[in-house]
């Protein structure tokens, strides 16, 4: 007999206070997600965090704002398959993350996608099991 069983449940989202390299919540507000598409103007491949700077144009006014995007450490990014030259000035990227709390035009990056190719950077390449 073939049956279909559905696991009827809500998404299990747990929130556990966690301390790591430094406090995330002191810098960023998880309740304020942001998606930004823009041209890379600079990358800081530095510790304790790497940063992307991107020019984002407002769709209505045309005004351009330079955003500072915080990522993990170069060591962590390297293990996800990044290199210091993976993203270059002039590349168009789309960043998803959370807004900074204390500084305008600051966000963290939960994901970075190369706009030209749709490739999600650091998502899977070095995490594959093969």
């Amino acid at each position: 007999m073939r049956k279909f069983v559905f696991v009827a449940c809500a998404i299990a989202c747990l929130s556990t206070p966690v301390v790591a390299h430094h406090s995330f919540a002191a810098e960023f507000d998880i309740t304020k997600p942001v998606t930004l598409t823009g041209k890379v103007t600079k990358i800081e491949w530095t510790n304790p965090h790497a940063y992307l700077f991107i020019d984002v144009q407002d769709a209505q006014s045309g005004a351009v704002t330079n955003w500072e995007i915080e990522m993990g450490s170069p060591n962590g990014l390297t293990r996800l398959g990044w290199t210091r030259t993976l993203v270059k000035a002039g590349d168009m990227v789309t960043v998803e993350g959370s807004m900074g709390r204390n500084k305008p035009n600051l966000a963290n990056a939960r994901s970075v996608v190369m706009t030209a190719t749709g490739k999600k950077l650091g998502a899977a390449s070095s995490e594959a099991t093969q």
């Binding site: 049956k3 009827a8 989202c13 430094h22 800081e44 304790p48 993990g72 060591n75 594959a128 099991t129």
Partner: protein, 335 residues
Amino acid sequence: MRTFVVGGLTVLAAAAGFAQTARGTLAGTVTLRDTAVPAVTVEVKNQLTNAVLTATTEKSGRYKLTDLPEGVYEVSIPPLGIAAGRFVQKDVAIKAGETTALDIALKQGNLATLGDDNGFFAIHNNSQGVRGPAPRTRDGHPDLSGVWNVNLDPHPTPASLLPWAEGVMKERRETNFRDQPSGFCLPDDPTPTLPLLRRFVYTPTMLVQLFEQEPHYRQIFLDGREHPRDADPTWMGHAVGRWEKDTLVVDTTGFNDKSWVLFAEGLPHTDKLHMIERYRRPDLGHLVVDLTLDDPATFAKPIERHMTWQLAPKDEVLESICTENNKYQQNAGIQ
């Protein structure tokens, strides 16, 4: 404060059912960012009897538990480094003769800053297939040397704190753990619980530990010396070790009271803190670490943590100079 956001449960229609008496099957795939996660433990607890069964994911991320008595279960996966917090899904019904399909999409931890989990899963996946006996040194003891991927206690008992320490924790939570020492490029935590790579260099007279956060090294003296009397308190304390059969027992005292102990908890302590670590290498690929923290001036009773770390033979401890470009104070609005 860092928050692990866990979940993203994909609900699938079941695959083939099996006509068995009062037994069912649970099966699915565990992924993180669309990538299969091998060698993680899926725990399945019967909510009526509390009986626990476990399965380990295969290389493809698949897991399967057959012969589960019909009933309602809690499915969970313990935290995995900084990469992913605990996954818990309650009220999963297992029916006789049927397969319940439960695909689990772990969410990146640390509020998902890309690269902030230090590549835990990349290291984890690089480390599969390590087999063999623990190596031994010429003095006959297990050689603890190697690069270890530090992982957390899968089932930590909550720390029991004295009232003053509870007050400190309340303030830390209310200020989003803003004053955590590592934000200022100071050492966070003398306990070996930061889920980063930790290289052990074992010699008969000293165990050296190297890691990617301040102060980047730790010396454990194995030459029979005692703790010094009335030494200046330090961030990492004074550590001496001795062998008890195949277990290296490390005793550390002489701490200052500035660090926040136990990763993910950030607990206060006094300079009376006393740490005992017990290290065993049961085979080539694993290090079993039992930790006891005692501080009668802070903890109502000693805290214990039990961890199993995985050898990371393809990875290295890399340089990490925090003061190079630390924008934390500026970005956190600290004057």
